[in-house]
């Protein structure tokens, strides 16, 4: 497997508290990888290191054959804007803007004009079953609809990697299921690699592979399976 994104022996502490203590993880192009673990295990910190939001204290992060952790802040910001998409659990939509504005936002930030950006943003509405909601304010949406808008916004700029941190954490079972089905379908159609952080096994089960973060390290369940089979 040639990894598209990889963390090698990464360490990260917050003050005296270690969050990652030699975490290694790699995901291939188009792979959906679930990162599981209890609260405080370091799984979100790992996501933030992979996405270039945090710079590790030690270790390396690679993306598309390029060292990411040594890039300047502005280069990492640019990479996040052009190559990565993000879906979080809460509070990611801008309430003053409409649904279409929210989805088009990454395109505007990348310098695209309204004429090109809006049709591209609105093309995502029927794909995610939220057609007809383009002119609504985000405060008028249900939790599941809001997460699908967040997913559209994450995907609209055609990222190479989608980072999803507990994307269904605030939803009930059926709404969460719909969001996950659409996240998986959209990622497969676009060939996007997904790093899915979750503590819920039912959500992780959508992924091609699952790893567990425990005490700041990554336990690869696929590796375990090989060990057991052999």
């Amino acid at each position: 497997m040639t990894p598209l994104i990889e963390a090698r022996d990464v360490y990260k502490s917050f003050g005296q508290t270690p969050a990652l203590t030699g975490a290694s993880i790699a995901a291939a192009r188009g792979e959906i990888l679930a990162v599981m673990g209890p609260s405080g295990s370091g799984k979100s910190t790992l996501l933030h290191c992979l996405a270039g939001i945090f710079r590790p204290d030690k270790g390396e992060v690679w993306f598309a054959g390029r060292r990411l952790d040594t890039l300047s802040d502005s280069k990492r910001t640019e990479l996040r804007r052009t190559a990565f998409g993000f879906v979080f659990q809460f509070g990611q939509l801008v309430p003053e803007l409409t649904v279409a504005d929210n989805i088009a936002l990454p395109l505007f930030l990348n310098g695209m004009g309204k004429k090109a950006a809006y049709p591209r943003a609105e093309a995502w509405l029927p794909r995610l079953g939220i057609e007809g909601l383009g002119s609504r304010r985000t405060g008028e949406l249900s939790g599941g609809q809001a997460q699908r808008v967040a997913l559209a916004r994450a995907m609209v700029a055609q990222p190479k990697v989608l980072f999803a941190d507990e994307p269904t954490g605030s939803l009930d079972t059926l709404a969460g299921e719909l969001v996950m089905t659409q996240l998986v379908d959209a990622s497969r159609e676009e060939g996007v690699t997904v790093i899915l952080v979750t503590h819920e096994a039912r959500v992780a089960a959508y992924a091609d592979r699952q790893v567990l973060v425990r005490d700041g390290k990554v336990i690869d369940h696929a590796g375990l399976a090989v060990e057991v089979t052999s």
Binding site: A201, R202, A205, L212, L224, V228
Partner: protein
């Protein structure tokens, strides 16, 4: 799936021949594991003996059994009681996995790896069921959901046990 009670339920819907019952059972409940004809007729025989169904007279025609079966009042009453009563919740404490963990700790074996391996197996099965939900019918999806919720409950137990292993090891060593 309890075959006799399911057949009673199908007969509650309408009197049927054995082959019709088999076809209905396989369609709704078989899920790739058809009910053998022999089991259909032996079950119907026992239900008739116990007064829960009546067999009627054999009808003319080909085939091993041309009887049309109908549910009796006793059969309907049993079916109703089964349908409306909750299944006994089992405490699940003495599961194979629990025994493995305790034995591993007693023997100084790596209990955490056993739990991780079990978690991996559970997640693989959950992934298969999740795939089935996206490709199968609504009935497949509902059955897959049932499996997923049970596996998820097991996984929670595995996670909590994994987090408590050192305390459990201490207890096993000192008791």
């Amino acid at each position: 799936m309890t075959v006799p009670l399911t057949l009673l339920g199908l007969l509650e819907r309408e009197p049927s021949h054995g082959y019709e019952l088999k076809r209905a059972y396989d369609t709704y409940f078989g899920r790739g594991k058809p009910l053998p004809f022999g089991q259909v007729y032996s079950t119907l025989g026992r239900l008739a003996r116990d007064g829960k169904v009546t067999g009627g007279e054999a009808e003319p025609g080909a085939g091993p059994d041309r009887k049309r079966y109908a549910i009796t009042e006793a059969g309907a009453s049993e079916f109703d009681a089964w349908l409306t009563s909750p299944i006994e919740p089992e405490p699940h404490l003495q599961t194979v996995l629990f025994a493995k963990v305790v034995l591993a700790l007693m023997l100084g074996r790596p209990a955490e790896i056993y739990l991780d391996t079990q978690r991996a197996a559970h997640l693989r099965r959950m992934h298969e069921l999740t795939e089935l939900k996206s490709t199968g019918s609504l009935m497949d999806a509902l059955l897959a959901d049932h499996g997923l919720f049970h596996l998820e409950a097991d996984l929670r137990w595995i996670d909590v046990t994994s987090a408590r292993l050192s305390s459990l090891a201490e207890m096993v060593r000192t008791s």
